[in-house]
Symmetry: D2
Subunit: 396 residues, 4 copies
């Protein structure tokens, strides 16, 4: 067992941190003030620099222009990148594009890869993933109203989805729909590749989430697919493979989120630390000398460190086995890290007092934005039950 | 000991609840979509109905047009009113006007009462309270940069404040400033009545809080008072009485908040209950049959009920004694109820899954808006220390 | 609504507190050092004084020699009595005798009352209640291996029970057994009155609980009833009424426990307060000036106060309605108060440092003894589910 | 970074686990029933087997008969050994002997090593460590009443200590006492080697802790050293070096405790897992199918895993640097792991229902015995403040 980091990876991590500090953190006020057009323009310049530094797409293999890192190495990069909410977009590894690219890489046909994967991996286009049904419980993915019928030459897709992240401005969607209604429950759905400009595709709205409708990659849409006509080769993988692929996509996706949350938690702790060191509470004392503040800091750092090593070990476990073996661990880091993040950010907000709830720091944004961490990709409760069933070997 | 509610109060509470359900809850989407002009227009109509029903200003004595309730009776009304975030504004008991009116009532001169209190109590004008210093720790109110000097005929006020709630559109401000720099530490400040149109008063911005700058009564301003010239009788109470009055104002203010939070927590529980009863998770099961959801509901209701009776008893204690005797209890209900609210709302959000973080329900609004509950009017930490010092009779 | 306490009740409460302070607390070291013979001897003297003061059996009607209090008044007495773990035994209201007496009072025949209730109410004999099955989950009381068959003239009882509290030295047991195996699930069991000297009754052991086997009223036995022959009138109430009676017995029993826990929590807080005031941590500072200690004290007091008023209100609700209406509330105070107690005692132990885990104070005893509070009479989890089903009106 | 375990260490760990399962767990009932003489006799046989297997003293270098492991390797062994409360005694690495041996190893003179270290390392004798003052706060080690004066040829020691673990049956004590009253505050104390049969040494009592006085290595004594005459070379290290040595001793000691707690937490989880798999709650369901039980299991495993990797990383940090650099991390794992253990064991007790509080399983023992984990070697609060001061670089 050896916890040291290789010199190459260390250099990558430091380069990433420097770029986040110098290029991205200064752009965060544009995000907080909802000035998306200026933000997107600036972000393009940063993405350019990321590519120049050879740090683009750390999660993807070199064959499609990525860094070709192990999951464990990516985890350590992701902490540095995720230190700013703008990080993953800047480094070309943002959800849902990261997961979509991995899907296309593993099961996309050559044509599909040429058309969708290559520009996506290069960051020239964006994509979205339409799985959650508007009127059904996301925690039970077998419940599905969306359907696609094959008429012998084309698919006809009818679906009503929501929480389709980053749909606004996306070039294509991957849509889950029932295509084999007669098959066994977990083999009824397929994934369909749908260009967003296909007739019948409409974005009803960007859902207002925590007070804001967001924009482009920072938005979640409600989508209607109304008798959308698609070519025969629109299916990703095989028909009926939808659930299996969704699971395959979500495993790494959950680890990716955990890695990113470590970065956000570290950010909150650094903000808290700086504030405690500087904020005067009397003529000769700073807040950091107040024992209650000290205890909250120590608890925050301890719980981040504990979550961190659990996440890194799980990434290593996946690198040295497969997602199946690590299934219980992935469920556990998902809820454990999300709860750690919520608590750490809550502490950081509290330590900042009134300032903490304003948008003069990044903390209030993380607080409200990442409340969703305990919900998306499976709520805490689902992961707790799922992990326990693995651990106990009892029926699901 | 008798926990029954008088028929009169019961009738008031039911009338208030009916109005909240029928008139206010339908207006909440205007708040959530930031359509303030429409909202304010509709609110005027509701306020008119409140007056017709004799439910206006439940916290004020009949002499100035209020309901003349005891604090304990007001507490029970406030739960019903606070069920909607729009309630207190509709019933004429919103912060900071409620506290300002109480101050004016107790120490305002006849002239001050005629000019400020009477239209304020009738809801014809709004006011604000400028205490928190822009650059100093609010938890230590002795730290104060704001100053007012008396030149023999006028006061000259210089101050930089923030978190001046509802400053936008207010007719006047009550401003804390140091006027007696040579006096003992707690006798240096005074409260000054400042019409908002006085030259030198400027509102720099509405502070963006949890992603939004708000509007009018739903905003918090950063204010500059630059050499503002005020008449000799601008002082509220006596010069040097500022801290004493601020304490006197904050005691009831904290109880008022607790009462309102009970209403918000009940709202969250009712939303959660309805959702658990209706949300299908399989073909024949609703979410409310899931044990983890059941446990979260029971824990939420239990902690609300416990906090509720503690708050009501404290109100009774004040009615039958004074704020001084109830000082430790007020500190304890402040942090205890605020934490209960945060946990209950967090549970309600979690139970709603993705829907819970959208603005399609009121929950995400309460979640982000009332994160401040553990901070304003004294953060948890300050109240925990303060209560303990009372309980232990050790030096502050 | 009126939270004041009548002068009569106040006088009773003060008399009870004085007796606990002066007579019982000095006996606690005998309990802690397991010197039961000396303890029981001293306790007899105290019980005599309790009777002289007219404070005997506050939970029972005057007709059988009790104080004839409402449940709400008893609750307030019980806090004072429960301040010492020896209190309830001293005042003649200890479990399981209190519940057994109530059962006999409500459904006992005249003969049964004369033989069992009268000496029990006077404290001349003790009893036990044998419900929990040795090998079956107590959380599902329908599971029952114990049986009694009626041969036309006598009952023949075969049962293996455990956690039969206070069996050692008891004069009689009330035993749950299946008597109507053909009836509907909840109508199969009956309660049987069994003199402990009946042939076939044997106490296998006092179960070692948290390191000690206890003694007499401070013990929990494993019992075997091996073909015990009982007269026809051994049934309490009607055959098949066992579950209904057990529920009727447990409702008040749970409230009684909650009331007692309030007393224990107050005790822990008083011990903590005194220690914080006296323990020097430097030459000129006591522990009570340490902010982390202050915060733990305030949190403890706040959570006790909140639980307290919730319990008292529930008692009032029962006085003014029935146990059925208050069913959800009783489940909620059961788990809420038990958890409050555990947390408060844990805080008190922690504040005492090394001393807190020794038997030089009462805290370690409460800590280990009342860990069971979250388990007996229904574990937290069962009450959370049960309360939620009431609140949601969904199927059990 | 590589989380794999070497084949050699894996083999050691498996051998240790097998011995714990087969030899030690069967002896635990002797511990629980306080049958210490039988226990000690059986333990000798097990210790013999441990030596035969080459697993003796994993924390000590080979030069004194230990396994010569790195701290990281010992950590992994210690988890397996600590799986039973009897483990550390069986493998020759129990507190306080482990820490005493390390002290003697690092600063003992040749004579001291020959007389004390060698038989101690071989497990032929036991020792104790008398630091905590009977009447002073252990959290402030500068407070010290114990004194030793040098008369030119001998030391005369006067001290009143308590929580002297394992004093009963120990061959010698290491005693902290003030020897240089004129020196700077942290240079006043020395450590003295005191054979327990020296005139003036008396053990007043084994302190009753959580209901039991224990025995030998399972006891904590109150000790009086009344004018104890010691030779000039009784000082360990240099006079005045006492605090420095105590710190040096406590750093590894805290890590050793954390490692051991990981083993105990794993034990609690394994007991819980087995019970959930086997305990029937209805005719066709086991407890492990109950969602609330599942959630508690998942939360327990997740928090153990997180703490585990944090502890292992800290051990690695010490192996690759020194205790000074890892000071904040050691404080954080101390409170974080102790709290994890308490929560996990609490969950395991709760899941076992009534059985959980009996001594029919090991859980109630761990529950009450390790409540002290959050107190000994520095209470949570002290470590939170201490870590924060390191993290913030503010004055202590």
């Amino acid at each position: 067992m050896d916890f040291s980091v290789s010199p190459t990876l260390t250099a990558h991590m430091e380069a990433a941190s420097q770029l986040v500090q110098e290029q991205l953190i200064p752009l965060e006020p544009l995000l907080l003030s909802h000035d998306y057009p200026s933000l997107m323009e600036e972000m393009e310049l940063v993405r350019h620099k990321v590519r120049e530094l050879g740090l683009w797409a750390p999660h993807l293999p070199e064959s499609v222009g990525g860094m070709g890192l192990s999951l464990l190495a990516f985890a350590q990069m992701a902490e540095r990148i995720g230190y700013s909410p703008l990080g993953h977009l800047a480094f070309g590894c943002q959800a849902p594009d990261a997961g979509n690219a991995e899907l296309l890489l593993h099961v996309g046909s050559e044509t599909q890869q040429a058309r969708y994967l290559e520009p996506l991996a290069r960051g020239e286009i964006r994509s979205c993933f339409a799985m959650t049904e508007r009127h059904l419980a996301g925690s039970n993915p077998v419940l599905m109203n969306s359907e696609a019928e094959f008429d012998g030459s084309h698919w006809h897709l009818n679906a009503h989805k929501w929480f389709t992240t980053a749909a606004e401005g996306a070039e294509f969607a991957i849509v889950m729909a029932k295509t084999e209604p007669e098959a066994a429950r977990h083999q009824q759905a397929s994934m369909l590749l749908v260009p967003m400009d296909t007739p019948g595709v409409s974005r009803l709205r960007n859902i207002s989430v925590m007070g804001a409708e967001g924009y482009g990659p920072f938005s979640h849409a409600e989508m209607v697919f109304d008798d959308v006509k698609l070519p025969a080769d629109a299916v990703l993988g095989r028909p009926g493979q939808g659930f299996a692929l969704a699971q395959a996509r979500l495993g790494p996706g959950r680890i990716h989120h955990c890695m990113r949350w470590l970065g956000l938690a570290q950010r909150a702790i650094d903000e808290m630390t700086r504030y405690l060191q500087q904020r005067a509470i009397t003529a000769d004392k700073v807040l950091g000398q107040q024992p209650l503040a000290q205890a909250m800091l120590s608890e925050s750092v301890a719980s981040l460190q504990a979550a961190r090593w659990f996440v890194l070990h799980t990434a290593w476990q996946v690198d040295n086995g497969d997602f199946g073996q690590a299934k219980a661990a992935i469920s556990m880091i998902k809820f454990h890290t999300a709860n750690m993040l919520q608590q750490v950010v809550d502490n950081a907000v509290q330590m900042h007092g009134g300032l903490g709830i304003t948008d003069d720091t990044i903390l209030a944004f993380i607080f409200r934005e990442e409340r969703a961490a305990r919900i998306y990709d499976g709520p805490d409760e689902v992961h707790k039950l799922s992990a326990a069933k693995q651990l106990l070997k009892v029926a699901q």
